[in-house]
Symmetry: C2
Subunit: 160 residues, 2 copies
DNA sequence: TATGAAAGACATCATGT
DNA sequence: ACATGATGTCTTTCATA
């Protein structure tokens, strides 16, 4: 187990907001010496608490419209078919640039996050690429009308 | 409209993988002078293509189990009630630390991403906190059995 | 817009309290 | 955990093409 104190948490919170804050800026805001901040961050990285640094892309590259899609396949008699078929679908979806994220859900379900320029374009994508897949039991589409928490997850996920 | 060339895209791709790459490292990998890389990044930030820099948290802080929940309310006679009620639910959910993301979906739907230590703990949370809400027409739970694309979205969303 | 060079700011490390 | 100083590296700026 990893134990974090208030200082660790304060550093993490600030870096989440802006990972380009310099050690001296962090030191000043948190009223601690630079050497301490440097040491803490080093430890946080070593312990894997900080996994990596990244950038969030902004409006110009973000899809204007996003939906979540739940796909459920029929369950075939031979279990091995199911596994291979689900894997095939997830891999195919993963390669498409407007598919932001893909997860398996249970034994015969898939959830995908899909972005596009308009709702219509996404609907077309769902109709052409997903609903045409054979042996589906269910396709549910949940539009993202307004993201209330975690809004910049889209800029995080979008491909360049 | 923002036009990106190959160099811009290459910089963005590298920074997405590791935002701590120095300008000199980027310059070396892309065979361009440091001043050029510096200039491009400055422009990308000005244009809003790069929104901000952040950290992704690692295993120690990530919930081991994640589900998506779709909530749909009844539609009351008075439209204004619906709006206020939905807003109330989304705001309440947003404040909870194990609720990773919340979005409105259509007029009377909400999608939430929920993390926890075990599936059972999440089930309990859903039963206690969500299913007890009045006037719900539907609550659907989609477990994330295995994330295939966008895996580190969890470490991106998790609260510190 | 791209580049090269120079100046200043910064992270990093060792040592000691 | 904190302080200090030495070192090398990086960012930033500016003049120029």
């Amino acid at each position: 187990m990893v134990q974090l104190d208030d200082l660790d948490r304060a550093i993490l919170k600030l870096l989440k907001q802006d990972a380009r804050l310099t050690i001296s800026e962090l030191a000043e805001r948190l009223n601690r010496p630079e050497s301490t901040i440097h040491f803490r961050i080093k430890k946080l990285i070593e312990k894997g608490v900080i996994d990596r640094y990244t950038i969030i892309l902004g409006e110009p590259l973000k899809p204007k419209s996003v939906v979540a899609v739940y796909i459920e396949t029929e369950i075939p008699v031979i279990e091995d078919f199911l596994e291979k078929y689900i894997n095939h679908i997830t891999k195919t979806l993963s390669m498409l640039p407007n598919v932001l994220a893909v997860a398996r859900s249970g034994r015969n379900g898939i959830i995908a996050l899909i972005g596009g320029e308009t709702e219509e374009q996404i609907e077309k994508f769902v109709d052409d690429t997903i609903r045409t897949l054979p042996s589906l039991r269910k396709v549910e589409v949940f539009p993202f009308t307004n993201i209330v928490k975690g809004e910049d997850v889209i800029g995080f996920l979008v491909d360049v």
